[in-house]
Structures are given as structure tokens and as C-alpha cells.
Symmetry: C2
Subunit: 191 residues, 2 copies
Amino acid sequence: MPKPDKKVDIVRAALELIAENGFHGAPMALIAEQAGVGAGTIYRYFANKDVMIATLFRELEDRLNAAILDGYETGTPIRERFLHVGATVLHYFIDNPTDFRFLEQFINSPYGAAHRRDKLLGTQEGCDVFKELFEDGIAQQVMKDFPLVILFDLAFGPLLALGRDHILGFVSLDDTLIERAIEACWDGVGR
Amino acid sequence: MPKPDKKVDIVRAALELIAENGFHGAPMALIAEQAGVGAGTIYRYFANKDVMIATLFRELEDRLNAAILDGYETGTPIRERFLHVGATVLHYFIDNPTDFRFLEQFINSPYGAAHRRDKLLGTQEGCDVFKELFEDGIAQQVMKDFPLVILFDLAFGPLLALGRDHILGFVSLDDTLIERAIEACWDGVGR
DNA sequence: CGTTGCGGAATGAACGTTCATTCCTATAAT
DNA sequence: ATTATAGGAATGAACGTTCATTCCGCAACG
């Protein structure tokens, strides 16, 4: 049983390098160096690079889901729930730019495609929140009657774009701007 | 002076392979094979792979801009112009999935980052249409008073997401669904 | 009209580099 | 002493690019 903190070091190094330089700019040798570890050591903790990346992704996904679930209340009105979740997600992106950039890289990669497929069939815990929210919204006639996927796109398309542009420095989002932007997203999905 | 149709073959092969498999799944040797051309021949037309990809991108960008400009009327009301442009873009994506997937790959890559930077400073012809549209919309008080970048994100974030999900088969967009989705985007940016 | 010579275009095997992965040695723990 | 862990040089596959060679169309010449 290897020392766990080495694994942590490796994962952090991988996260930082991939977020900064993309998958291509993060060879195993560099990851090892930045983690203060031998190249071969990584393979004591992960079968190969793909497994390492998938593990890392799942970890970040869990963190994001936890952030979303934190403070989420089933009882409040749909619109309030939507605004809360939207602002939480956007804040998470802005406060964790490294996480965001890694996630972005991941979903726009061969890895991400397969992952998306799976998500549509089997239900994921974090996803359920949105599914439920949107289904409730349609049922209560406060949201437009679209297929769920479209509602996702209307709501999250802007969020990802906003997160990216803030992190790239194209716009500087403060709290009021975030709030107004999420309200605009609501205007897109609500009726 | 080399025969021009070889260049066309090469560019098409590159477009198809990159759209299908990403940049990694499109080695020069494969591109050459699919183009019915020797590997070295590519380098008679392009200095290197980066130049080839940049050229290809500019070509697709021009095609998309042409599609947008086609049927665009400066005189009509803002909302109508927005709906027209939005529907045109989304239709272009759906009718040209290969183009769309290449563009998607490109903008989510080291290449795309640099390109985005440039776009913000120097004005591009196709971009001007949107800039003008959004600026007019704000001035006439029919759009929310956001920084331009945010309006872009609110409007195009969903478009890209919708195009991707349609092409991946997660949703099947018909004409009425497209129209309604663009109207929803308008609800996001309009007031 | 047939032959020869020429120059740009095309080729693909070969090269050098990069990278993930393996393997063997050294070290620490029990 | 035996085993578990770490290290990093070695390995081999894959890739972009190069270059010596071949191909091809055409003009000059006999």
C-alpha cells in the first residue's frame, strides 16, 4: 500500500499541467517532475494515463456536484432554485479556474464524448438535480415545454461560455453581473 | 504551380478526419492516404500541419460568415434580425455537421485560444454583424444592458450546445424546434 | 513525327523527436 | 532477509517532417 500523499501530489500536478497546457502539454515525465516523483512511480498508482485522467475527472465532478448540492433546497420555488444552482455553478467555475479549465479540456476530448453518452442512459446523482428541476419546471408551467436536453443547453451553454470568458480575462464578472447573467439564463428557459 | 485540385483533396481529407477523430486522430500520413496523395505532397501546399489547419479554419470561418451575411438586412427590427441570424447559424451547423465538428475541435484547442485573443482587438467582418446587432439592441433598449461579451455568451452558448447535441443525436431539431429555441435565446438577451 | 532533355511536381522511405510505458536497480520498511 | 516502494534510464511505437529519387508533360531538336 503506497503512501497516499504521493498519489495526491501526482493528481494535483496532472490537474495543474493539463488545465494550463492541455493534454498535449502534460506528458507523464513532466507530471512526474512537478509532483516530485519518478516517472515510473505514477504507474504504481494508476494503470495508465487514461485511468489517471478519468479518476481525476471523476474527482472534480464529485466536487462540483457537492458544491451544487450544498445549499440546495427542494422546497423553494423553481425560479429561486434555478437561480441558486446557476449562481453556484458559475461561482464554482470562477473560484476554481484550474478545475474549470481541466473540465473544459476533458469534455472537449475523446474522453468526454464517451462520458456524455453514458450520462444520457444511466442517471447520475448530480445530474438528477437538474433533471428534477427542469421536469418540475415544465410540469408547473413555469418553464418552456422543451425536451430536457434543450433546456440543459439553454441554461448551461451560457454558463460555460461565461466561465471561460471570465477566466480568459475577456470579461470580469462580479457578483451583481453574475446574478444578472443567471437571471438572463432564466429568461431563456422560463416563460 | 501545383495542381489546385490536390490541395482541395488534401484540405477535404484533413477536414473530414479531424472532424471525425480530432486532431490526434488525424496524422499527416492518414490525411495523405485519404487524399490519395503522398505524405510529402502535403508539404508542397502547406508549410506544416499548423498552417494547414489554420488555413482550413479560415476557409470554414469564411463560409459561415457568408451564410450569416446572406439574407441579413440592416433595416429590419432588432429582434427579427437576431432570430434570423440565430436560425441561420444553427441551420448551418446542422446542415454541415463536418464543418461544425471541425470548428468545435478548433476553438477548443491551443489554436483557438490565440485566435480568440486576436478577435477581441482587431475587428473581423463577420463579427461586426453581431457587434453592430448587439450594440443597436442595447442602444434601442430592446436588449439587456450587458457588456458585449456577455451578450455573445448568452446568445451563442446555447447555439453551440444545441448544434452539438443535435449532431451527437441527443436531440433531433426540426424547423419549429429550432425557431422556438432561438426565440428562447432571444428571451435571454432581450428585455 | 519521333526522340531527347529539362524542370517542376510528387513520392514515400527514412529520420529525429516525443511520449507512454516497462524494467531493473536502489532504497526503505518490516 | 525479505518484501514493498521508488526511481529514472531504457524501450518501442507514433508522429511530423525531410529529402533523394521518380514521374510527367512539354518544348527543343533532328
